[in-house]
């Protein structure tokens, strides 16, 4: 299909919208209402273009213009400008943008004047300022002044739609993105236009926005009407250091941009990854970042003669470890770390275990996996039968829920162009029909996804799985089994509850069932990087103790885990590597400050086995280091010469292992075989998405013993025992792209 934009003729696939034709040609039109992952509706009328097409005579030949060889098909122009986002580009179509048409330029400036009629001039105090589509487009395409001499509309300026989203009704330009988002993406009709004409405003009659995915409307709002309340008034857009990285709250691995200001994490916005999260993230991933900048540990601490933890230098910490381990062999040290640690940290831990010969090494949470070829998220979105068994996706992998809902709408992934994802894919329609019968949800307790499922039942995972793979007289289980066997692209998703119930018999029954019905099985990993860490030998060796037997060890390093929160006995010598002074850290002999995953460089593996990069945001974290550094300090204390002393060493070791350069990972990630899986028995674990410290309200400094401690810049200032040397505070930023 040939389309001519401003005189430039280009070849385009059929089905391209005129707005994408314009951008593909390298030209520009302004737009507010179109969004790549939402239906185009032509609400804002900013993308006006002049367009025309050739017509044919009754005999099939083109109506020509001109004489002889110079004759060209005559272009019949539409009498008025057309909205490019809702217009299909057709063979031979000619399009003129403002670059070549005065009419278009004037129409767009006129529309801009309309958009600004009631828009308040509060850009200087608006959080969107500097990153505002309306502001940018008004500058590029507007008249620069208004002829409207009357009073602007006044409406509610601080209207809380929920705890996390604040609406400024005056700023709204009625593009309807948020309304369409809720209806089309999470399938919740909770926002809509109220009233009409100049009085129109956005509101809900449901008593607030539902939990889960409400924060995405703050990203897609083209003006400052919908704002992230956690980040509100925390900084201007040009002050933020933006870092594109990967979210590690759950195993989905959404692309995010971390915005930091003055070393504090102030805001997280969704990044685009067509393969993983498209343009959406969950509310926990967006709003739950408070802990990253509150009460952080910034220096090592050791327990002095009086039994009080005091801040020290790295060297003093190394000395303390050396003293503590003096009576012990390096093999007696147990190493436990969180399953959201990076592959690099995992490689370092594995190397450390090899170096010391220790046998007690473990990561947590961990649960039995299920092998086989697991589907990608895009394959799930394009499947025709999905059964979710023993999983509460709202807690385990929220964005996977959105991809399953996408499957119900037909799994239409917008096309890709030189300018990125199609701005207006005309296959996406408002109020899409949903094929609910393609989804079955079987779980022991009601969950959010059940509302969208054609087949659902409250059943415990063990009997549901047994019924699915064997025989059952439960209609929902029968329905689910039939769905999977009839589907051509069938996918079974197993959550924590289902995986905990797996034994040898049910495993082989499941294997037989998936072969028989040609079903692919996705076992949800317990931790953000469980999939990656299970490819490294990070489970207890023979004679070693697993994490839940932590109290039985003589000496242990516990990294970003809090086993003593529930009050078990501590080992004789305890080294804690953590971001905060947790219950475990309070009982430690040595505390090493840790980096949160927002500040790490490294690689994580999501639930579909995709390697995704972590990049360090510019957060203030003092002397904090990752697990690689903590292990290097301990190796130094033990007089061991480790080969992995930093991120570079870990990355080259990892690169050798995987046969690729992990420093060159694209932000969209890369799927690669990870090789052998290391498994060990694991206790039942039910993931919770929101953890301690993620909300301001639950940051309980007040009911913790250190409430009386002075806090400076959000960091704990520990009491100093007279006579101790306090290391000079160093301001370090593990930031930027160093």
């Amino acid at each position: 299909m040939k389309v001519t934009v401003d005189g430039l003729t280009l070849e385009l696939p059929a089905g391209t919208s005129a707005i994408d034709a314009v951008f593909q040609a390298g030209q520009d039109v302004p737009y507010f209402c179109a969004h790549p992952y939402l239906s185009p509706v032509g609400a804002c009328r900013m993308c006006l273009v002049e367009s025309g097409s050739p017509r044919k005579n009754p005999d099939g030949s083109f109506i020509m213009d001109g004489e002889g060889d110079a004759a060209m098909p005559k272009i019949f122009w539409f009498p008025k400008p057309m909205a490019a986002c809702t217009m299909l580009a057709t063979e031979g179509m000619h399009i003129r943008t403002a670059a070549s048409s005065e009419v278009v330029g004037k129409s767009q400036a006129g529309m801009m004047e309309f958009h600004l009629l009631n828009h308040p001039l509060d850009c200087p105090t608006c959080d969107k300022g500097g990153a505002c589509e309306l502001q940018d487009r008004a500058f590029e395409y507007g008249y620069g002044e208004s002829r409207f001499g009357f009073e602007r509309r006044h409406a509610e300026k601080h209207y809380p739609l929920s705890e996390n989203v604040i609406l400024d009704q005056e700023r709204c330009i009625h593009c309807k993105r948020c309304v369409r988002y809720f209806e089309e993406v999470p399938g919740q009709e909770v926002l809509d236009f109220i009233e009409r004409g100049g009085h129109t405003f956005i509101d809900t009659a449901e008593g607030g926005l539902p939990d889960g995915f409400s924060g995405n409307i703050t990203d897609i709002c083209p003006v400052g009407a919908l704002l992230d309340n956690v980040a509100r008034f925390r900084g201007r857009n040009w002050e933020y250091d933006h870092t594109s990285t990967t979210c590690t709250l759950c195993p989905v691995g959404c692309s995010i941009t971390v915005d930091a200001r003055n070393g504090r994490l102030e805001r997280i916005v969704a990044g685009e990854n067509r393969e993983v999260n498209e343009a959406w993230i969950c509310d926990a991933g967006r709003f739950g970042h408070v802990f990253a900048s509150e009460s952080r540990l910034t220096t090592p601490l050791i327990r002095n003669e009086d039994g009080v933890l005091v801040p020290v230098t790295d060297d003093q910490a190394v000395e303390a470890i050396k003293r503590g381990m003096a009576e012990l062999d390096a093999r007696e040290l147990a190493v436990y770390f969180s399953a959201d640690s990076t592959l690099e940290e995992g490689v370092a831990a594995e190397a450390f275990a090899g170096l010391t010969g220790l046998s007690s090494i473990d990561h947590w949470p961990r649960q039995p996996g299920y092998g086989g070829v697991f589907p990608t998220l895009t394959e799930i979105a394009q499947a025709d039968a999905v059964v979710v068994l023993g999983a509460d996706l709202a807690e385990e992998a929220p964005v996977l829920e959105l991809r399953i809902l996408e499957m119900l709408r037909g799994g239409l992934l917008p096309a890709e162009f030189n300018h990125g994802t199609a701005i207006a894919d005309l296959r996406l329609v408002e109020r899409p029909a949903r094929k609910r019968e393609r989804l079955a949800v079987l779980a022991s307790t009601p969950n959010r996804l059940m509302e969208h499922a054609g087949i659902y039942a409250e059943l415990d995972a063990k009997s549901a799985l047994a019924g699915l793979t064997g025989t059952s007289n439960h209609p929902a289980v029968q329905g689910a089994a039939e769905l999977l066997s009839k589907g051509e692209h069938s996918i079974l998703i197993l959550g924590a509850e289902a995986l905990a119930s797996l034994d040898t018999a049910s495993r082989s029954a499941l294997q037989a069932f998936s072969l028989r019905t040609n079903t692919r099985v996705l076992a949800l990993p317990a931790g953000a990087n469980s999939r990656g860490l299970s490819a490294l030998n990070l489970v207890p060796r023979s004679g070693g103790l697993s994490f839940e037997k932590f109290a039985g060890t003589q000496a242990a390093l516990v990294s970003r885990l809090d086993p003593l929160a529930t009050g078990t006995d501590k080992p004789d010598f305890l080294i804690v590597h953590d971001t905060h002074l947790t219950a475990t850290a309070r009982q430690a002999d040595v505390v090493l400050p840790a980096l949160s995953n927002y500040e790490k460089r490294g690689t994580t593996v999501n639930l579909e086995g995709r390697l995704l990069p972590l990049r360090p945001a510019a957060l203030k974290n003092g002397e904090s280091g990752d697990l690689i550094r903590a292990l290097a300090l301990i190796a130094e204390a033990l007089d061991l010469k480790t080969s992995v002393r930093g991120i570079r060493g870990a990355q080259s070791l990892l690169g050798e292992r995987l046969g690729l350069d992990v420093t060159e990972l694209p932000i969209h990630g890369l799927r690669t075989p990870l090789g052998q899986r290391y498994e060990a028995a694991a206790p039942k674990y039910i993931p919770k998405l929101w953890k301690w410290g993620m909300k301001r309200a639950d940051f309980p400094n007040s009911n913790r013993p250190d409430s009386e401690l002075p806090q400076i810049g959000g960091m704990i200032e520990l009491p100093v025992v007279p006579g101790t040397t306090v290391p000079a505070p160093k301001t370090t930023f593990a930031g930027g792209d160093d």
Binding site: Q188, E189, V190, L191, D192, I194, R196, D203, A205
Partner: protein
């Protein structure tokens, strides 16, 4: 008790007018709202939720549709509900001044009802631009070319107990079968029985309906 609890046959009858698909069911929104409004004079929030449950949507959606049309009310209206057209043509002919005069004389604002039963509302175009400025009384009809003096005399008559005859009844009314009639009683449009697919439409019937 909810409004439709004892009117299940009416609900079934209204729903039967539309396709039974989830999308089609939603079309029953407006007639259901009309039932409630005719009975109570306005639609309250519990009733919005009730309609939402009946047609499988959310209260937000119901409120959105309801608030779009000025003929649905969310608050009780008076015996004399005066609706002033305030769209461009009427505005050019002085509807703002008419509105100010009306509200000052009656001492009432939108959403309020005076002791003597007046309520006011600004509405969008009522399609009587040639006789602007104008106002509509209840669902009954139009007073056209309403000057200050005429406004005063209308109010005086209503205060005395009876509204003067309207200049025109509301142009198009819809009867229970969904048929539309002009104020003159002439049928307009078509009901579903008179519609034929184009392919089967008999030639003689081509001059049938007029819109």
């Amino acid at each position: 008790m909810l409004y439709f609890d004892d009117k299940q046959s009416l609900v079934a009858e209204i729903l039967a007018r539309y396709p039974s698909s989830p999308q089609g069911k939603r079309s029953a929104l407006m007639p259901l709202l009309r039932e409630i409004q005719n009975a109570h004079g306005f639609v309250s929030e519990p009733h919005m939720a009730e309609v939402a449950a009946l047609i499988g949507t959310t209260a937000t959606e119901v409120r959105s549709v309801l608030s779009f049309y000025s003929t649905y009310h969310t608050m009780p209206t008076g015996r004399f509900h005066l609706q002033v057209c305030s769209t461009l043509m009427c505005a050019l002919a002085g509807s703002d001044e008419l509105w100010d005069h009306l509200t000052e004389t009656l001492d009432v604002q939108p959403g309020e009802v005076t002791a003597d039963g007046f309520s006011v509302q600004r509405v969008e175009c009522l399609g009587s631009c040639g006789t602007a400025p104008m106002l509509q009384l209840n669902d009954e009809g139009y007073y056209e070319g309403v000057t200050r003096a005429r406004c005063d005399s209308l109010i005086a008559a209503m205060r005395a107990g009876s509204a003067p005859e309207t200049d025109h009844p509301v142009p198009v009314v819809v009867d229970a079968d969904g048929r539309q009639f002009l104020a003159t009683g002439e049928a307009v449009g078509a009901n579903t029985d008179s519609l034929y697919p184009l392919s089967t439409k008999p030639k003689s019937a081509s001059s049938g309906g007029s819109v």
